[in-house]
């Protein structure tokens, strides 16, 4: 029988964390911004069908960076959790807080118990009736959960991008302005100076979807055409 080498728990956790961080750092950034019209979610994603941003429930959206198969399984689990909860209680009883804590628990369990941790970072966003009631949660690979304000930046060059977004963030941004700000942030980690609409994935959680579109489902994916128009609105 081969002798198992002793590895201290500290070292084991550190190795796992480094492994996960490396995986996430390879990915492109995703930005979630709370603004006056609602919450804008912007990702750099050349694929038109493999989404990094998704709808979870009426007022709740999901954004992720990292390995596609891992965050996609988490997204589907989130949709199932939300739909079961909304079906067994009521639609109002599905909250981002509940979902985020389920995500935190499953990420934490995978981090300690499985062969390898998930190489993902997630954002769960819930749009409220007013900007003060918006909720943004950031979840990392080890199951830590953070309640963020105003915006979240995730991905490889998060610090650099975050600096750019922080400089331009204001309370009263419209969707168009928030998306432009996010794109401005995204290009800071790029060699190329601009991002075409085709390389972007943009979605919004509309604060007043009931009155604007007659539906309680606030999530709306913007087409390339919409994004081109929004980016062209500049000045």
């Amino acid at each position: 029988m081969t002798q198992q080498f002793y590895v201290s728990p500290e070292q084991l956790m550190k190795d796992r964390a480094d492994f996960a961080r490396k995986g996430i750092a390879r990915g492109r950034s995703v930005i979630v911004i709370s603004c006056e019209d609602g919450i804008a979610l912007v990702a750099e994603n050349p694929s038109p069908s493999l989404h990094k941003i998704g709808e979870i429930y009426d007022k709740i959206a999901f954004a992720a960076v990292g390995k596609y198969n891992e965050f996609e399984s988490l997204r589907q689990a989130g949709v199932r959790y939300a739909d079961v909860r909304g079906y067994s209680y009521d639609r109002e009883d599905v909250t981002a807080r509940g979902l985020a804590s389920v995500y935190a628990q499953s990420l934490g369990a995978v981090f300690t118990a499985e062969q390898k941790p998930f190489e993902v970072e997630l954002a769960v966003a819930e749009v409220g009736a007013s900007q003060d009631l918006d909720h943004l949660y950031r979840l990392t690979f080890d199951g830590s959960i953070a309640d963020e304000h105003n915006f979240i930046v995730m991905g490889g060059q998060a610090d650099k991008v975050s600096g750019a977004v922080e400089g331009g963030w204001q309370r009263d941004l419209s969707f168009a302005a928030a998306i432009r700000l996010a794109v401005k942030g995204l290009v800071t980690d790029n060699e190329t100076p601009d991002l075409p609409a085709k390389a972007l994935e943009v979605a919004v959680l509309d604060r007043s979807s009931e009155s604007n579109r007659g539906t309680r489902r606030a999530f709306r994916r913007l087409s390339d055409q919409d994004v081109v128009e929004l980016l062209a609105e500049e000045s």
């Binding site: 589907q76 079906y87 067994s88």
Partner: protein, 273 residues
């Protein structure tokens, strides 16, 4: 098949909410186990029954309307019940039969469609939705044999074909595509008679809505379980129109005017029968 991880993952991935519940939370699904003894013969169970639904195609889509009455034997159980629901963005569902079971079923069907859309990132085809509803109705067959039947009418805009389509069902889940127009429920015979005379191909939307309201008026005239427009309580039928732009609930104001016109013209004609 071998119990490999890949097999397990594949077996566990489903886009159907009902399948997910069956596997993980079966206690949440409507459980309709028939009673051992059944209800005494000839005695209808004292639960509300929903009545008449009409639906028709028009130029560019479909219209579905339902009256507002639920009955329990000879008693009016509700004057306000709503029996036409949006199933998703492009389809609507009207229910006749045992109200409690039908409302449960509608809720499950709505979640089923939304769940599929969110998991798959695309809408189910209209035929897919109609088949799914058929399977759910078939699941209720044991209860239907006990007298608690649910008979839906399903209609929607087929975005691929660019037309509005209607589907009716029987209690065994049989799905039948209907042409032009259809009605279900206790007053459906009279509503269908009215539709035969009032409906014509390529009606404009507002006329189609008026035809729906008038056919329900005729059903209410001869069927005691169907409620007519109620100007005293300001109650009008629930009407949805579905076209390329999606489903829209027709406003109370529009319906009040249309119902008012029908009552006025009938009063002016001074007809007795």
């Amino acid at each position: 098949m071998q119990e490999t991880t890949a097999n397990k993952v594949a077996a566990h991935s489903t886009s159907s909410f009902t399948e997910h519940l069956q596997r993980d939370r079966p206690e949440l699904l409507p459980q309709y186990t028939p009673f051992a003894s059944g209800t005494p013969a000839g005695q209808p169970l004292g639960v509300p029954h929903a009545t008449t639904i009409v639906a028709m195609t028009y130029a560019g889509g479909i219209v579905m309307a339902g009256d507002r009455r639920a009955t329990m034997g000879n008693i009016i159980a509700s004057r306000h019940i709503e029996k036409v629901f949006p199933a998703d963005q492009y389809s609507v569902l009207g229910i006749a039969g045992t109200a409690g079971i039908a409302i449960d079923l509608t809720r499950l069907f709505q979640v089923e469609l939304e769940h599929y859309e969110k998991i798959e990132g695309t809408l189910l085809s209209l035929d897919g939705k109609a088949n799914r509803l058929g399977a759910m109705i078939r699941g209720n067959l044991p209860m239907a044999l006990q007298g608690l039947a649910v008979v839906p009418l399903f209609a929607g805009f087929d975005t691929a074909a660019g037309i509005g389509r209607l589907f009716s069902y029987d209690v065994t889940g049989g799905r039948y595509e209907e042409q032009e127009h259809h009605a279900v429920g206790s007053g459906s015979m009279f509503a269908r008679g009215a539709l035969k005379k009032l409906w014509r191909p390529n009606l404009p939307e507002d006329e189609a809505i008026a035809v729906a309201v008038e056919s329900l008026y005729d059903a209410a005239d001869d069927d005691s379980a169907t409620g007519g427009p109620d100007p005293v309580r300001q109650l009008w039928p629930v009407v949805y129109a579905v076209n390329r732009a999606g489903a829209r609930r027709v406003s109370e104001r529009e319906l009040a005017t249309m119902a008012g016109n029908i009552i006025e013209s009938r009063a002016a004609a001074r007809r007795e029968a």
